[in-house]
Amino acid sequence: MTMSNNPQLNRNGELQHLLTTEGLPASILLNILDTAESFIGVTERDVKKVPLLRGKSIFNLFFEPSTRTRTTFEIAAKRLSADVVNLNIAASSQSKGETLLDTVNNLSAMHADMFVVRHSQSGAAHLIARHVQPEIHVINAGDGRHAHPTQALLDMFTIRHYKLDFHKLRVAIVGDILHSRVARSQIHALTTLGVPEVRVIAPKTLLPAKVGRLGVHVYHQMEQGLKDVDVLLMLRLQNERMLSARLPSAEEYFKYYGLTQEKLALAKHDAIVLHPGPMNRGVEIDSAVADGKQSVILPQVTFGIAVRMAVMSILAGN
């Protein structure tokens, strides 16, 4: 029941772990974005490495399988000259009954400097951060429905790259907010960075209770929700939603909540479209939009590597 101080910050108020965008001051978020800016230059040259994290060991602890996210973290770590170890725990120790913390303790004994953790349960990264030795930094690569801070940060980086000033924007997040760790992290980052209007657009079955308290305006219709929007953050729809009786079919979802050229036209003419990937074409987004000129989905991926390099560097240096 102890309400401890922010578990992400050390005594000097510096970032010790990156677990969630919630509760981080704008200065820390902006510092990550600014640092990422410098790493973009690195990713554009021939030698895409800098020696910053040479000699450091970064362990990717993926309790929930994911090739994309794990790969981007691996690339980011290697570009910082760090040593990377990938562990797909889903298969091995968990099935042998080894507890989460036992796994972490065993790995700590192997002199890890940083853990990048993905887990299917909300709060897993916080639990690990509470129990690692003080020198080890933890990055949350996604825990249950709770948070995916690096994804939100790369989305913020992308928005700033194209739109420059957060204070003038109307941003809409569309899709399964209820189950989305990306959406939660995006909402906290957007409100912290001063975006004056954040909207969520979803059917009632895909919205969490009291979501308005997070500082968002709630819409159930795309037609109203997308009007005059500058940035569209699309979320992926999982098949399970039909099975758990929250939605009847992907087809009906696409008709009312999928992003088509027509619906996109309701937003500002220079609105940008983001998606964390992987996309379900024809479910939450139309191919014409995904591949169209307003889509910034591919640049998101490049920016994602720079943002993760920034996060790792800042943590390792604190």
Binding site: T99, L100, Q121, G123, A124, D143, R181, P208
Partner: protein, 424 residues
């Protein structure tokens, strides 16, 4: 042995007594309250100056973990914890392994408990075989073996027809039916209250509807079958309102709340504190306030500990995976005192909620200090603070949201049948 408890502040809710006086015990019974019985010569004396002397506490729900869960806790440790908490009578939950659905198991449990010579144990028997909600248990046989009422613990009925028959059958014999109002399919997979905290933390949520829909079913069926129903662990404002309305319509339903829910809300989950993973979940502040008001106005009859010792490994997991429950026998008294102090309720009224009221619900002669009653007493220092930490708890369960906090109210002596079974 002839014992005199001298100079304590004697509080007996049943007779509305709250005065400094002596209490006299002989042959395991109370033989005098205030007045010395003729020819009484004490051979033992307890100095109760500045202490409160009240009936031993009656706890409506404790998981003793035997049989089946001995790695979590044993009868020895938990019975010691009970008397350390000033509890002299407790009802234990049927969800042991195997569940208490066979007379033999009940007899063995009672026998084991009796042999420890500590608190009186009143088993709640399973309503259905294996608690599966399909076939009825031999309730009459179980009553003969010692069960005082029947329930399903946390295992909800999924078949309403079976629930109705269980209530009708119990009602035939006048047996009490104890039910937790939580609809299984609505609660499905949820681990926290469907409110702002679950939304922020991304925790699968349990809507208040899970409680109110189940309550509605139980109340309607109680009316229909005439069963004597006790509702276990109310958690929401709407739930309290429904119970109040049912009572106003004359339905003889009783209701309890867990001590933790009197004080805590979803906010206390903080950064995923798994000690706050409880069933039912900690709900919003307005729900908590409604529970406190409900206990005050009598809609809620009693407070219980809902004692659930959980081993450390089962709590050191992400919130949703952590086993639900909190240790509670040793916190029932201080948490009740805390509620009384915060709501400015006189001790004589507050202590009723953990003595005479739960005794009435259990249908046992306990929770009062009348001459002739069994000498089951709790003597405590209402002002003394103690720190809730592992070393201070006798229970093997150290899992409580109050870990690390200081609470007021320290049990100094506990007597069962006139014997001092705990000295703090």
């Amino acid at each position: 042995m002839k014992l005199v408890i001298k100079g304590g502040r004697v509080i007996d809710p049943q007779s509305q007594l709250d005065a400094i006086m002596d209490v006299f015990v002989a042959a395991g019974k109370i033989v005098g309250v205030g007045t010395v019985p003729v020819g009484f010569h004490a051979n033992r004396e307890i100095n109760a100056k500045d202490l409160v002397v009240c009936p031993g506490l009656v706890d409506l729900s404790a998981r003793l973990r035997e049989p089946g869960f001995e790695y979590k806790a044993t009868l020895e440790s938990e019975m010691e914890a009970a008397v350390a908490g000033g509890i002299t009578s407790l009802a234990c939950s049927p969800d042991t392994d195997p569940p208490l659905d066979e007379p033999g198991l009940v007899e063995m449990l009672k026998h084991r408990a009796k042999g420890l010579n500590q608190a009186h144990v009143y088993p709640i028997g399973a309503l259905t075989q294996g608690l599966k909600g399909e076939r009825l248990t031999e309730m009459a046989e179980l009553r003969d073996a010692g069960c005082v009422a029947f329930g399903q613990s946390d295992m909800p009925f999924t078949n309403a027809r079976v629930m109705m028959h269980a209530m009708q059958y119990a009602s035939t014999f006048g047996f009490g039916v104890w039910l937790r109002p939580q609809d299984a399919s609505l609660a499905n997979g949820g681990v926290a209250h469907d409110g702002e905290v679950a939304t922020r933390l991304g925790l699968p949520a349990i809507s208040v509807c899970a409680e109110t829909v189940a309550l509605s079913n139980i109340i309607l069926m109680a009316k229909e079958t005439g069963a004597t129903v006790h509702l276990c662990r109310i958690s929401s404002a709407e739930g309290v309102a429904m119970v109040r309305a049912a009572r106003q319509q004359g339905l003889p339903v009783t209701c309890d709340v867990a001590a933790n829910h009197m004080h805590l809300s979803e906010m206390d989950i903080g950064f995923f504190d798994s000690n706050c993973h409880l069933v039912p979940p900690l709900r919003g502040l307005s729900d908590r306030n409604a529970l406190r008001a409900g206990l005050l106005d009598g809609t809620i009859d009693a407070v219980c500990s809902d004692h659930t010792p959980v081993d450390e490994d089962a709590k050191l997991l992400p919130f949703g995976e952590a086993e639900a429950g909190a240790t509670g026998l040793e916190l029932l008294l201080p948490l009740t005192l805390k509620w009384a102090a915060e709501m400015r309720i006189p001790l004589v009224a507050a202590l009723a909620k953990v003595t005479m009221e739960p005794a009435r619900i259990l249908g046992i002669d306990a929770g009062h200090l009348s001459p002739g009653a069994a000498a089951d007493l709790c003597i405590f220092d209402p002002d003394q603070y103690w720190k809730v930490e592992a070393a201070a708890l006798k229970s093997q369960g150290k899992n409580t949201p109050f870990l690390g906090m200081e609470l007021q109210g320290k049990v100094k002596y506990t007597l069962v049948n006139g014997n001092i079974v705990n000295q703090g």
